[in-house]
């Protein structure tokens, strides 16, 4: 008997890829199961999904946000337990951590991909100005100063209008360098460090310094504006997420060459840290009438075949599968190569710390944008975040 599986997703962007590449591959191998990829505008995804799950009209397969959003669904019996899925063996514990119960006993989504932060730069511009990608913070500012001096390019493309840009591409991008990645993140969760510690305030100070290198009116500059500034060749450096690789390449369309460098370290030879964030996974609607077919599909999603398909179709979304994936895109290779040289960590606010009110992630967005725009000092911002966290998170009280 034929079944049709529906995938709920926020990835409008991937519609084409699923329709043209991934689903046909699966369907060819699994006659009798057809799959429909049914994305929702990203901003509405959580709200719509929750409503549909509550009312029982959601699709069979659910694209999982990392950490609490999905954990909540699992705890509410909306997502099925996938611990026993054979393909789970293909993923490391770190890869699965974003979709496990706090004790790690149950896993409920098959990890799809992670994203890595770093800086992209306009290599053509750098060559024109005779600049090298910086390795240390001092070099970083030297480069920025040089570009500013020259005046042809806006040194760095970033705005504070879409607050998440400042937080994600700024704070979470360079922060691990100061709080030492997993070490600091663990300590914060354990209550051993606080957000007012130097390691957590320093990233804000850096952001505040960036202000001098942004374009005019950056307070009203949105994330797409920043993207456009960079891809149109008007800005030289772009604090990036690896997902932009896939979208920038066709947009730049050969107008200039891109390069990438990881977040600079304090001193030459220091360990570098990168944010390698587990971002997207696929789970099973606990109420799905087609659970068997869906599990078949998820087994396939956990396979190396899928990993290769997916990572190559979406350069910048790096497979979490343990089996190594061959990637064709050179920039994607560059990003993923940092996994070897630097310590990866996930975004500091995602696990556990954003469970209460005020929500640490949202507050961090706000604080990062404020600091970037100069309406709040780094110290004040940090103090405010700490106070908010302490108000509900026992280990910090």
């Amino acid at each position: 008997q034929d079944v049709t599986l529906t995938i709920e997703s926020w990835r409008n962007d991937d519609l084409q890829i699923w329709q043209d590449t991934i689903i046909p591959a699966f369907e060819a191998a699994n006659p009798g199961i057809s799959v429909v990829f049914s994305p929702t505008a990203p901003a509405e995804y959580n709200a719509i999904l929750n409503s549909k799950l509550d009312a029982g009209s959601a699709g069979d397969l659910i694209t999982c946000r990392p950490f609490d959003a999905s954990l909540e669904l699992f705890n509410g019996d909306k997502l099925a337990d996938l611990t026993d899925l054979a393909a789970m063996a293909n993923f490391s514990d770190v890869a699965k951590s974003a979709w496990q119960t706090d004790d790690g006993a149950a896993t409920f989504c098959v990890p799809l991909a992670s994203v890595i932060h770093g800086f992209m730069y306009n290599r053509s511009a750098f060559e024109e100005l005779g600049l090298e990608p910086p390795a240390t913070i001092d070099e970083f500012y030297a480069v920025l100063d040089a570009i500013k001096e020259d005046g042809t390019y806006i040194p760095m493309a970033m705005g504070s209008a879409d607050q998440w840009e400042a937080a994600t591409m700024g704070y979470q991008n360079i922060g691990p360098t100061f709080w030492k990645g997993e070490e600091g993140r663990g300590a914060l969760i354990a209550g051993e460090q606080s957000l007012t510690d130097e390691a957590w305030v320093e990233p804000f100070r850096q952001l505040a310094r960036w202000r001098d290198y942004l374009g005019e009116g950056f307070q009203a500059q949105t994330y797409p504006d920043s993207q456009n500034l960079f891809t149109l060749g008007r800005a030289a450096i772009y604090p990036a997420g690896s997902w932009e690789i896939g979208v920038f390449t066709p947009q730049i369309d050969g107008a200039f060459e891109m390069g990438a460098f990881p977040p600079p370290v304090m001193a030459e030879g220091d360990t570098c840290y990168i944010s390698d964030h587990t971002d997207i996974a696929l789970g099973l609607n606990a109420a799905s009438p087609n659970a068997d077919a869906a599990r078949t599909f998820l087994e396939w999603v956990g396979s190396a075949e899928f990993a290769t398909l997916y990572a190559n179709a979406l350069p910048g979304f790096f497979s979490l599968n343990s089996s190594p994936v061959e990637m064709e895109d050179p920039l994607a290779q560059e990003f993923v190569s940092w996994r070897e040289s630097c310590e990866p960590t996930i975004r500091s606010t995602y696990q556990i710390l954003s469970r209460g009110t005020p929500n640490l992630e949202n507050e961090t967005w706000n604080a990062s944008a404020n600091v970037l725009a100069g309406t709040e000092t780094p110290e004040d911002a940090a103090a405010r975040l700490q106070e908010g966290l302490a108000s509900w998170y026992a280990p910090q009280q």
Partner: protein, 279 residues
């Protein structure tokens, strides 16, 4: 009324003001339209420039027409909008007539009750609505949308129409009563035709949010067969990148039917519809 009544200066001043405001109103629309015809690079290189041969790029429209079944989406939107409008106008006018014409106990409470709906966003009731539709097997049908939009449009319709119906001359309705017209006939044959401008206004006010709504199509009828045009256009809004060419093209195209409907309704805005009735 006469030409002589229009003094030259007054009319020039009126035109000056109106043209100024029209420019303000249309300038952004102009920006949208010219940019929907340009390549992405050209949009941001100089958003104000006309599309030139180099920058002209109908890629947005091409993308739109390639992606999904836009004709079907249009048709769905039309069906939903027209059907909802019909019920909103009919039921709304009937209720408004009852409220404005008859004194009965609880009249103002009923008026208030029917106005509650404009005070809370109906989105908040989404889960319950969706549960009802699931129970009724209406998910992924246009009927579900029509029901929700009818309910959503009623409060405003009742609110506006009852005010306008109060302005219909009592003598006129009484003449009808003496002529032996039933209350229904008075409503349908006398009052409705006389509040045409108000009906047109309500129709326009009701139509726009229905046409532009994204939420309920997403929740109640996201299937390919029942997608509305607004929902269809959302495909181009991505997580990190939005295909503005396509979004602009899709939404520019999506304006046209509403604009046509607006033009149709605004023809009902007629002066002197009650002229000659009473002295």
């Amino acid at each position: 009324m006469s030409v002589a009544r229009r003094s030259m200066a007054r009319s020039i001043a009126a035109h000056a003001v109106l043209i100024t405001y029209t420019l303000i109103a249309l300038f952004p629309v102009f920006v949208i339209v010219i940019n929907s015809l340009k390549s992405r690079r050209a949009i941001f290189a100089d958003p104000l420039a006309w599309p030139t041969p180099e920058t002209f790029d109908p890629v947005g429209y091409q993308t739109v027409l390639r992606q999904g079944d836009f004709l079907l989406y249009f048709q769905n939107s039309m069906i939903v909008t027209v059907a909802s409008l019909f019920f909103v106008l009919l039921f709304g006018a009937m209720a408004a007539f009852a409220l404005s014409e008859y004194r009965f106990r609880g009249n103002s409470l009923m008026g208030l009750y029917l106005a509650l709906g404009i005070m809370i966003p109906i989105r908040l009731g989404t889960v319950v609505i969706l549960q009802m539709m699931v129970a009724g097997g209406l998910v992924n049908t246009l009927t579900a949308l029509v029901l929700v939009y009818t309910a959503q449009g009623l409060p405003l319709a009742v609110f506006i129409l009852s005010e306008f119906m109060r302005g219909v001359s009592d003598d006129l309705k009484n003449a009808g009563r003496i002529d032996g017209l039933s209350e229904y006939a008075i409503f349908f044959r006398l009052v409705l035709p006389l509040v045409r401008p108000a009906m047109a206004t309500v129709a326009v006010f009701t139509m726009i949010p229905i046409w532009n709504d994204l939420w309920f199509p997403l929740i109640l009828a996201p299937s390919e067969a029942t997608k509305t045009i607004t929902l269809g256009s959302q495909v181009f809004i991505g997580q990190f990148v939005t295909n503005w060419n396509a979004v602009l093209a899709a939404l520019s195209l999506a304006i046209l039917p509403v604009l046509v409907m607006y033009l149709i309704f605004s023809r009902q805005l007629i002066r002197g519809i009650t002229a000659g009735a009473v002295k």
